[in-house]
């Protein structure tokens, strides 16, 4: 009962974490994988990214509902939607404009794609994997907009799971501290890095590949009885 011939859409799939998942899903028998990047630069970089050699790369700013509907509308089918598009916390999280922008991308961006994809996923009895975070469960002094957006994603995930069951399963992964281009500055800061690793029972940063088995599990037809969960892949960070 292995899955095959499925179509995957991974928003933000040109990035560090989304790209790792796109590469893994592309190995599935007969898979069609579409990844998106928010800017021409990300799309151009992705076309030479060896991880994405089997994927179709598209430009998509998830703030544009029209663009989201156009992209999802042109797919002949859709089995798995992964909402990996997002931005990190930043000092702008403390300004109204910055806060709104972060929510518009991370939370509303996820919502736009979910809503646009619903009919196709209902037709395929497909599923959604959203990107939550440890900050769905814990506040952070450096990113109130990030944390609020990710907390919203956790409850969005549970609510859509309830609303769209049993046809469409909706789950999320909550990555911990994962090495990626987005987190290199934190890793390079010895004070922050020591504090972070000291709080991770696994004693290390995660790698993008650490997300693969969890995402495969949630995307699989074998996890048919799993819906509405937020799966931490965090080296145990949330235990404390």
């Amino acid at each position: 009962m292995a899955d095959s011939g499925r179509t995957f859409l991974i928003t933000g799939g040109t990035g560090g974490l989304g790209g790792g998942l796109a590469m893994a899903f592309a190995e599935e028998d007969g898979a069609t994988v579409i990844v998106t990047g928010a800017t021409e630069a990300e799309v151009t970089a992705a076309t030479v990214d060896p991880r994405l050699a089997k994927a179709t790369v598209k430009l998509l700013d998830v703030r544009s509902d029209e663009d989201v509907l156009a992209l999802v509308g042109q797919l002949p089918r859709l089995d798995v939607l992964v909402n990996a598009a997002g931005i990190m916390s930043s000092p702008a999280d403390f300004t109204v404009e910055g806060f709104e922008r972060s929510i518009d991308i991370n939370l509303l961006g996820t919502v736009r794609v979910c809503f646009a994809a619903r009919e196709k996923l209902a037709a395929s009895k497909g599923n959604i994997i959203n990107f939550a975070s440890m900050m769905s469960f814990r506040g952070t002094p450096t990113g109130p907009a990030y944390a609020a957006g990710k907390a919203g994603i956790a409850l969005l995930t549970q609510s859509l799971a309830t609303a769209w069951a049993p046809d469409v399963r909706v789950n999320a992964i909550a990555p911990g501290f994962i090495t990626s281009p987005m987190t290199l500055p934190v890793q390079a800061d010895p004070v922050k890095n020591t504090r972070i690793v000291g709080r991770i029972p696994a004693g290390r940063w995660g790698e993008p590949g650490d997300l693969v088995s969890g995402a495969r599990f949630l995307a699989s037809g074998e996890s048919a009885y799993v819906t509405g969960i937020i799966l931490p892949i965090d080296g145990g960070y949330l235990t404390t």
Binding site: T162, P201, A202, V212, S213, S223, A224, G236, T239
Partner: protein, 240 residues
């Protein structure tokens, strides 16, 4: 990087849920699977159970620390410990003796097996899967002892994940309402059964095999960055 040659101990593995997991693990190449039942009747039934044809069936009452140590001490190695031994809620949950008994089996019994297995799991860089429940997160009017014990199993799980990381991973699964010999009374009670299904987005009772992919995921070395987590497999029950 498929796992092979591992030794699994599944307490309560003669039962409905533990037996399904034991059966799945015994399909892994070179696996050694030991399951336990709490009474001679369960052991005899386990030895005749086709699901357990590749497993060794032993008698173990997890209330007996000496017996737990004797059984685990007899193992040459141990890679994965699954603590599935347990009792359901019952009217006795409302008596001091019944309450203490449930805690002694479900919570202390799990702790006994974890503590006894620590050295072997450390040597193999193994992992533990405990049995939490949707009642780790929600109270129940019919089983205060059951809910209290399962709440305890969840925090025992995250605590041991911190205490024993990074060598030993400790996770739990939280089954929803599952169709097993232990739950036939509930399934046959039309009023209560309807109430449960109304709160299960998947719209059906779970079956023991629904637990298998989640247990395989947590037991796998591919989930090496996942520890301290309680994974619901509940058809979405916990979303509402």
């Amino acid at each position: 990087m498929a796992d092979s040659g591992r030794t699994f101990l599944v307490t309560g593995g003669t039962g409905g849920l533990g037996g399904a997991i034991a059966s799945a693990f015994s399909d892994e190449p070179g696996a050694t699977v030991i399951v336990t039942g709490a009474t001679q009747g369960e052991v005899d039934a386990g030895r005749a159970d086709p699901r357990l044809s590749k497993a060794r069936v032993e008698l173990l009452d997890v209330r007996d620390d000496a017996a737990v140590h004797a059984l685990i001490g007899s193992l040459e190695r141990l890679d994965v410990l699954v603590n599935a031994a347990g009792v359901s809620s019952s009217p006795a949950d409302f008596t001091p003796e019944g309450f203490a008994r449930t805690i002694d089996i479900n919570l202390n019994g799990t702790a006994r097996a974890c503590f006894a297995a620590k050295d072997l799991l450390q040597a193999s860089k193994g992992n533990i899967i405990n049995f939490a429940s949707v009642q780790s997160f929600r109270g129940t009017g019919t089983g205060p002892a059951y809910a209290a014990s399962k709440g305890g199993v969840m925090l025992l799980t995250s605590s041991l994940a911190i205490g024993w990381g990074p060598d030993i991973r400790v996770n739990a699964i939280a089954p929803g309402f599952m169709d097993t010999p232990m739950t036939q009374n509930l399934i046959n009670d039309a009023v209560r059964s309807k109430k449960i299904l109304d709160h299960t987005p998947a719209g059906r009772w779970g079956v023991p095999d629904d637990l298998v992919p989640g247990a395989k995921f947590l037991a796998s070395t591919e989930s090496s960055f996942v520890t301290g987590h309680t994974l619901p497999i509940d058809g979405g029950y916990l979303t509402t």
